[in-house]
Symmetry: C2
Subunit: 233 residues, 2 copies
């Protein structure tokens, strides 16, 4: 049985977790003898997501799923930068990384994979406002919707996890199954104002948010702050 | 303060809840004096989602949020058909419906709104495989990504909730804010095999799933079974 482990930590972006989970979980229905999906965490009590009103709870502890076939690491803002110094989380990823065939992330989740030392010399991506930071961990930043390089499979910001997960389902179970899943979740996107025009990206606003995020997230982690180029005021 | 209440019940489809939540929750950051987001349920303990591995927990009980500005009802499969006979849930929706300015749903969540008597004579939509069932509650089924008719604002299957929520943010706070949110969650969809080709929809498979879903979901609700045209074997 191949176990796909979605990794949780307090404050993660809920859609980073649930988008790919809703796409990958059907593998356990289409291929019940081959795949199972779990949500792992330091504990199985409810923990806050980045949406103040929503808490999520893991199905298994890290200890219960030591050798997953794949891990998927969601991203977030301040909490994710803090997670980059969470030794229990990093130890889990390193241990899983010894045997896992896929090390996946959504959004800034790739920075956590990087902090665990799992992206060295790999092409990788993350949320557009944080892309260059991947270099701090020896990864090669690529501005794509998703990037596969060896075992590393990283998706861009938040909603990119849905596209990336469909690609992963096709890789694991074939394009026919991926299409069934796409029909099931009616993923036939119609953003009301069309696709994003990247010339209009609110880069100044995000530069400010990013600075605050990195400063707050590394307040107790001076070494990480140096590595990420966070300057003290 | 206008409260947007996401309604939970055991077994809901997680992405129906989290997709729109991730889009609408930023309203409380962009317009902190005007909007707040809550997740309401019969209780605030963790409850299962349709993904066996993920539990979610509400922030407030139904009693704590009696008069929301808007409700958003997620859908699902068997559990959602069962929810159509959940008198506590229906009573909450009817009570909220006395004053709420928006009665929203994602996927088969519109069937729950219908069961609460809130869609009579309204155009509405739902997951493509369940669309005709809206007629059982006096609604007029429309095969669109989302449908606004008076207070009723219903989205098609699962992922349609993201598109619909962006439209709702634009309505509530303007298109500029909606675009900021779209950049924030990097919603620039690139389904790996392109948009859905509806001629290829797996209608036979879903017809079978639907029959099972309706039968199991109405096992203890003979009146609802008759209304939905469920025939006993």
């Amino acid at each position: 049985m191949k176990t796909i482990a979605f990794v949780t930590y307090p404050g993660l972006t809920a859609l980073d977790l649930v988008g790919p989970l809703q796409v990958l979980d059907p593998l356990s229905a289409f291929r019940p003898d081959e795949y199972r999906t779990v949500v792992v965490g330091e504990h199985t009590d409810p923990m806050p997501s980045d949406n103040a009103a929503l808490r999520v709870a893991a199905s298994h502890t890290f200890e219960e799923v030591p050798d997953p076939f794949a891990v998927v690491v969601p991203g977030g803002m301040v909490s994710t930068i803090e997670a980059m110094s969470d030794e229990k989380l990093l130890a889990y990823l390193r241990r899983a990384g010894e045997t896992a065939e896929t090390l996946a992330s959504v959004c800034t989740g790739s920075l956590v994979l990087g902090a665990a030392g799992l992206l060295e010399d790999r092409e990788a991506t993350t949320h557009w406002a944080f892309l260059d930071l991947l270099e701090a961990f020896g990864a090669k930043p690529v501005a794509k919707r998703w990037v596969a390089d060896g075992r590393a499979f990283t998706a861009a910001g938040v909603a990119a996890g849905i596209d990336a997960a469909l690609h992963l389902v096709a890789t694991l179970a074939g394009e026919d199954v991926a299409r069934q899943v796409q029909f099931g979740i009616e993923y036939d996107p119609q953003p009301p104002f069309g696709p994003l025009n990247w010339e209009d990206a609110p880069r100044d606003m995000w530069q400010a948010w990013r600075a605050t995020t990195l400063k707050e997230g590394t307040a107790d982690a001076p070494e990480l702050a140096r590595r990420l180029g966070v300057t003290s005021a």
